[in-house]
């Protein structure tokens, strides 16, 4: 399955920030539970699939080819930990009580 075989013409553009308004978080402003291990590795990473696969769009491309993580938006799914091709994401659970807190689930 390659990207070429997929008709992407009807993929709608979505403003994820609007959707994230529906989520409740207890943001930990003191400790990031996600970190880029080595920014140089991101610069060397051509595809940067993290910019697409993260379900909350927490991965943002920066000038110079680095990537920044808006960890406060994370829903702790784990996708980035296993799908970052060079495994360049430090991933742990937020401290107890912090992070996403589903109201309905």
């Amino acid at each position: 399955m390659t990207a070429k075989t997929i008709d992407r013409s009807d993929l709608p553009e979505v403003y994820i920030d609007d959707i994230l308004m529906s989520l409740k978080y207890f943001a930990d402003e003191h400790e990031a539970h996600l970190k880029i291990i080595d920014p140089q590795v991101c610069i060397a990473c051509k595809d940067k699939p993290c910019l697409n696969f993260c379900p909350v769009g927490a991965y943002k491309a920066q000038e110079g080819g680095t990537v920044q993580i808006a960890y406060q938006a994370c829903v702790e799914c784990g996708t980035c930990r296993v799908m970052c091709p060079p495994r360049n994401v430090f991933w742990k659970l937020p401290r107890g009580g912090y992070g996403v807190s589903y109201k309905f689930g």
Partner: protein, 441 residues
């Protein structure tokens, strides 16, 4: 529960107060043990997420008076089956009444933040101690045996001779114990994203053909919803909400460079789906991984002083949408084994092996073994999410509109709508292979 050496000590520690964890905890408590559940969320359920429906058999197995306890459920599932989507059409294959109308109904739609909080509260009523807002970060080991856990609280060590790990799909503790040698794989794990959309109950009833708010749907949506990627969509009816989502295998999603929330939005804009949710308000978005590898990604289930249950142990049957019931059944088996170990005074792997033996005798390990090749099969045969749903739409569409056409020509056209997509030999081969995979041969 603080012993003379000032150590916080229990008979059993359960990591995670979800469906598996609270089932394990209450089972151990009924066996007379002092049990603590350590939960990382502000309350049980706040980190939990699914489609989804719970299965009555597993709920009654823990609480025979389950329904008398007034559980926070949405609707019973009185109609269930497949919707096959083409680009602009749909074939519905659902069943209602008859065997779906058992008393009690076999499945109920629920919302996990509400339900799991209630589920854990039932365990607390039977003496289980709950420590929320606390992450277990490591184990305490003595002579290679697990004898407790380290939490992220100050002086956060808790001791118990047996630990039941129900940590969920991100099974980092299970990995830390060496019960599985690697993190999970992108080809055996699906990312599911969902929107919960509020609508008046009467609107839901009218649009979905439900006679009252005591009827509800659980639908697997196959075809255009996954854009040809190995994955499925779903629709569940809450009391006054609809839950719609889509789950796709991680590596295919990543390779396709599709944003999961755009894939979901595309599903919600589908001409057959959009009218169902028109005017609805987004109540909550979310995302969660599903360990669809099942048997193929299952860790060793026990070691000296520890057992693993639920998503952490890959207990998911992706074909039958089972997982919550496996978690509950496995949690109960782990709880029973903990009681047995205390009776023997032996917490070694040799005694805890009884956990696996118990599961061998249930649908959990029987089905996981039988379906061991299913996630790989669907991953390698995306035509089941693309070719066949489209063919089904074309074939039935042509069959039921073939008025005034010579029928020999009609059947030839129908066959062509298959063979133009997939040679007949291959199609037959796909069916046989699918059958073999289901049968586990």
């Amino acid at each position: 529960m603080v012993d003379k050496n000032e150590k916080l000590t229990f008979d059993v520690i359960v990591v995670g107060a979800g469906l598996a964890g609270a089932a394990a905890a209450v089972t151990a408590a009924r066996g007379g043990l002092n049990v603590v559940m350590v939960e990382r969320g502000v309350a049980p359920g706040s980190k939990n997420y699914f489609g989804g429906a719970l299965y009555t058999h597993s709920l009654l197995d823990i609480y025979p008076d389950f329904f008398d306890r007034k559980p926070p459920l949405e609707r019973p599932v009185t109609e269930t089956g497949f919707w096959f989507l083409s680009k602009d059409g749909m074939v519905r294959m659902t069943v209602q009444g008859g065997k779906v109308n058992n008393n009690p109904i076999d499945a109920y739609v629920a919302q996990r933040a509400k339900f799991d909080a209630w589920w854990a509260e039932q365990a607390r009523k039977e003496g289980v101690f709950l420590i929320p807002k606390t992450v277990v970060v490591d184990f305490i080991r003595e002579n290679g045996k697990v004898v407790g856990v380290v939490t992220d609280r100050a002086q956060g060590e808790i001791y118990a001779p047996v630990v039941i790990i129900c940590e969920g799909v991100n099974n980092l503790l299970t990995q830390k114990l060496g019960l599985i040698k690697h993190d999970f794989k992108g080809n055996a794990t699906a990312l599911a994203v969902k929107q919960l959309i509020s609508l008046p109950a009467e609107t839901i009833n009218t649009r979905l053909g439900l006679r009252s708010s005591d009827e509800g749907l659980a639908i697997s949506v196959v075809g255009d919803v996954s854009m040809g990627l190995p994955g499925l969509g779903f629709l569940y009816t809450g009391k006054d909400s609809l839950s719609l989502g889509v789950g796709v295998t991680l590596d295919a999603l990543s390779a396709a460079q599709i944003k999961p929330y755009e894939l979901l939005q595309r599903y919600l804009k589908h001409p057959m789906i959009a009218p169902l949710i028109a005017g609805g308000q987004l109540m909550e978005y979310g995302a969660h991984l599903i360990p669809e590898g099942g048997w193929s990604t299952m860790p060793q289930l026990y070691t000296d002083g520890a057992m693993v249950a639920g998503d952490a142990a890959s207990m998911v049957n992706a074909m039958h949408w089972e997982g919550t019931n496996m978690a509950i059944t496995a949690g109960k088996a782990a709880g029973e084994t903990a009681v047995e170990a205390h009776r023997k005074g032996d917490f070694s792997a040799r005694t805890l092996a009884a956990y696996r033996t118990r599961l061998e005798n249930t649908f959990v390990l029987k089905d996981l073994r039988q379906y061991r090749n299913m996630s790989r099969f669907l991953h390698d045969h995306p035509e089941f999410m693309d070719v066949y749903p489209n063919f089904l739409n074309d074939a039935l569409g042509m069959f039921f509109t073939g008025f005034g056409k010579p029928k020999k020509q009609l059947y030839s056209d129908i066959l062509k709508s298959l063979t133009s997509r997939r040679p007949l030999v291959k199609a037959v081969g796909d069916l046989v292979a699918f059958g073999r995979t289901v049968m586990g041969i």
